[in-house]
Symmetry: C2
Subunit: 189 residues, 2 copies
């Protein structure tokens, strides 16, 4: 263990580039959004403001909203008020809602007070081609130098993975739903 | 998408068991601890108290500590004050420190005000056989019915995975360290 740590220390010391990261949390397992929330907590603890745009209505419930309310104005939150849900029935409305959310994302990316921006379930909007992939990836790549962006959702597009600095695939090893356990307040929502 | 959601809704409705979950976040990728932090935020937002025991000294830095301080007494925090670090040099001291941390974990498991308990990097202590695996898994299985426990760390033991309700493997698809980017405040710590 000592040796491995020494090697790790040397490797870490050799890293010299400091930049805002493009982080992608994808895969079928749990933890994509919660890991983004954990980064929000970490950034808030470092005195940064955090922006959050949800691309799926209802993907987050009141648990995290209540908790983040403790940080007041230091969290800028935008939930899609209409349209795109898991039960989408009106494609034109959904596309309009996605575009509105993306416009909000661009606005927060341009806001120099924001140090971390979470684009929750953006991968879903991209998967259904509700936003232009090239335009989204291009804007993410052109982000301010110090801005960290976290994109969550299953089935991240290859072009986004290519552009990202850090990509984690959450794999589902075992899930309690298969044992008849229901979604529970404080865990799933 | 509509059909898949309908199937999901039916599946979710069929789940009737409500229980505190044993959750394991493992694998080589990022997000094991941050996803646990996200669950802490969610639980705090639901009015629950959260217990945190860190089995590796220095695994968490000040970012998350500062942020969680916003919740005051609602977060019960125990960091191993001595011993077991990534650079361990004194096995007897490390084992003693792990036992002390585990005693704290048992104390928090018995505390009825705690709704979620995070045992951060417990998998490392188990991997080095610094704690008795059977005793740990047995105690986790015998937890209070409503208590959710999250265990993090690479290389989760098969017996723990077997006992768990929800296991997620964080896979490392792409990491910025390999591109020469250094660990940064607010992201890695």
């Amino acid at each position: 263990m000592e040796k491995r740590k020494a090697v790790q220390d040397a490797e870490v010391a050799a890293k010299t580039i400091e930049k805002g990261l493009l982080i992608v949390n994808t895969g079928p397992g749990k933890g994509k959004t919660t890991a983004a929330l954990g980064l929000a907590l970490r950034a808030l603890g470092r005195g940064r403001r955090v922006g959050i745009v949800q691309f799926i209505k209802g993907a987050w419930d009141t648990g995290e909203k209540h908790a983040l309310a403790a940080f007041g104005e230091r969290v800028a939150w935008h939930t899609m008020g209409e349209g795109f849900t898991w039960e989408t029935q009106d494609k034109a409305r959904d596309i309009a809602a996605c575009r509105e959310a993306w416009a909000k994302a661009l606005e927060l990316m341009a806001d120099p007070t924001i140090g971390l921006l979470i684009l929750d379930e953006l991968n879903i909007a991209l998967r259904y081609d509700y936003l232009d992939l090239d335009a989204v990836v291009g804007a993410l790549q052109a982000r301010r130098p110090g801005l960290h962006v976290v994109v969550t959702g299953r089935n991240a597009k290859p072009a986004l993975i290519e552009a990202a600095d850090l990509v984690t695939e959450m794999g589902n090893v075992k899930h309690h739903f298969s044992a008849g356990v229901k979604a529970q307040e404080g865990i799933e929502f």
